[in-house]
Symmetry: none
Subunit: 229 residues, 4 copies
DNA sequence: GATGAATGAGCCTTCATTCAT
DNA sequence: AATGAATGAAGGCTCATTCAT
């Protein structure tokens, strides 16, 4: 009965799609709520309501609140790790760094809650901190530090200050999203609007150029028409 | 009966002192716990245990968990507001800004939990956000922005990017403390050790000088003995 | 798929029935406990245990202890209000009054806790007192007073004593149930046994006849077969 | 040193007086609060505040909340028991009963909370119920029943209804005070005002006369000018 | 897969009671 | 005698989680 099989298969596919859809909806809702209240402060029902489901239904997808939390963290960290791997193949020069920053900002634009999530986790000194450090933060920092070290134009900084420069870029990118609610409340513009994100991206770019004037001049020379990427 | 009165008064003073001592202990413990878990994630018993008191005793000092939270916020914000007012009397020039940054860093060094506390609160989008913005963040931002505007050496930045510069200093100072656990886990040194704080302070100073090269040179000239540490 | 729908509907009906059953069980248990201890003196767990449920489950049915209390009051008052409305259509004469008393006693017999509940509430001077007065007590009093006023045989009482006569009937009916535990402890018979209630009902009836001797004689005349039990 | 002794004695007397004064204040406040909320529903601090004392101070006078409660009950019951003993010496006739009712109402007028207190206790089926029945309620009922039994004019009631007549007097006297808040809310006059109490007393008196018409006529004859007591 | 009902654990808060002063 | 501080024991209510349907 190939027909039946066909139907069954089609039905299965449809079901799988629905499941995947629901799962993504849950992750999205969870990310948003976790980003605001943290793991301990978040109530499962909040996530369920934000997803439009009954609280008990979540347990058909994730065995516990913390498992869901880990899934959210994992989903958020993975593309950044991938991004970094992609870049680690390329050359280590100013242009690459600028592009990396742009890419990171672009990714964060699509996941505006993620920064808050990891800031929260970073501050909580909780059980996920070391994982977070190992999988996400350390590679990112090392990548940036490595780039700075290899730079032909040496920064005239004390020894041991390179990590601080790297951290500055973290602050300026992730911190921009993390503090967004406060910035929004204070300033007139929304930091996570498309315009706000683009402006911050350009600002970081300018910052880089200000810190590496020689390189900047060289870069400028090699692209006389301007790099409006 | 002067003796009796005297004794009574002494006893009262002693009692008042003990009360004040306990109150400070509660605030300190609460600040530490709130800074890690946030308002929603903190359990009153945690604070009580950290203070060495019974949970019920806290309610002799503060009528509710959120009232205690507000008191902690208030106590943390006040000295910064005062600091700002002190500086607002002084001249608006590069040296002042550098000094302000140093002072802020110095204050945060003494209250390493405060940065995390307000980052948490900023991200929670809770009911204290607007108060925090009005009383603490807005004045600080305006002060910095004003200083940048009045600067004789114009930053060659797009319009509307001044707030981002100001925010950068926030990120680099408050963010340094907020992300300290993660930085510590990743790097080899403790960011909130005396050395770590001093290094970050010098780093921000360097950053300022890099952004205002003209002013920097002038400042250097006017202080022939050199304060380059 | 009529079958499936049918099953679903049956299942839903069954569920609804179970829910209604549980709700009634909760109200019954709550009524009994509230009648003994009052709102403030009652512990939610007592009600839960009396219902055979976990304390938390009650909150699936009523959002708070006081909401449950209000529901109990409401359920108790409603049939009495309805009873009064039924009677308000009938003629205002002695027989009607006697019948009303009998009906009220009969109702109270089925809800022996209700009298205690409202006595408790009446004495507590709490927030429900005015509602209780408006919805239940005032109409009842007015009904009785009206009947007495319209009576062809005027009671030879001072002006303004009519309410006291009405109140006397309240005392004799509701008070009988309210004081039942004490009466039981003191006398040999149980006041809320069928016999005890019937006896008190006959007693009130006798009381009425004693207060209206003329009417009593007339009533007796018009019912030659005699209903003297 | 007789002087010193004298002074000491005076001081002691003054102190004793102050103590007695405070103790009475506590009992009064406790009676009022217990009458509204019952033992379980009353908070010690409420009583303390009503007395103008600190909660802990009460424990210098009574070892526990329930001990205070018992003292309040005891104080309320005793004068009624005494009253009954006084009357038990006198003759058992209509006039005596009328006088007893008047005396009871007069006593209750001075302790308007007491009725509520014992109604509350009667309904709670608590541990004090049997004591209350034995010491206060049973003697009172027996006294009234005895009087009715000895009456030369037999009430034409079924057997076993005598206790109900006795209970009716309880309802009409104690119940008047117990339901006072509800009656006040419903009617225009305050049942526990001097006027309200006098009126209810006269009403009960009338009720007695209505139930014993022969006796009433006889009584009337022997006091031609009327008994405006 | 989805849900309402149920529950044990735990949270914030209150309360009766004790104690040092 | 009087009080503020302290506490163990609840008390009301919430929450993560389970289960029957």
């Amino acid at each position: 009965m190939p027909d039946e099989n066909g139907e069954t298969q089609t039905a299965r596919a449809a079901q799988a799609e629905r499941t995947a859809f629901t799962e993504k909806a849950i992750l999205d809702a969870a990310e948003a709520v976790f980003a605001r209240r943290g793991l301990a402060g978040t109530r499962v029902r909040e996530i369920a309501e934000a997803t439009g489901l009954n609280g008990a239904t979540l347990y058909n997808y994730y065995p516990s609140k913390s498992a869901l939390y880990e899934a959210v963290l994992e989903r958020g960290v993975k593309p950044l790790v991938d991004l970094l791997e992609t870049f680690s193949a390329g050359p280590r020069e100013l242009e690459t760094t600028r592009a990396l920053v742009a890419e990171v900002m672009c990714h964060l634009a699509g996941h505006p809650n993620f920064s808050r999530l990891i800031y929260l986790e970073a501050m909580a000194e909780g059980p996920y901190l070391s994982t977070l450090a190992r999988k996400w933060f350390r590679p990112l920092m090392e990548r940036i530090i490595g780039e700075l070290k290899d730079s032909p134009e040496p920064l005239d900084l004390e020894d041991g200050m390179l990590p601080l420069v790297a951290a500055l870029f973290i602050h300026a990118s992730f911190g921009h999203f993390a503090l967004a609610p406060l910035l929004h409340e204070t300033l007139d513009t929304d930091p996570v609007s498309t315009e706000g994100i683009e402006r911050q991206t350009r600002f970081i770019d300018t910052l880089i150029l200000k810190m590496f004037p020689l390189l900047a001049r060289k870069a400028e020379a090699s692209t006389p028409e301007g790099v409006d990427d």
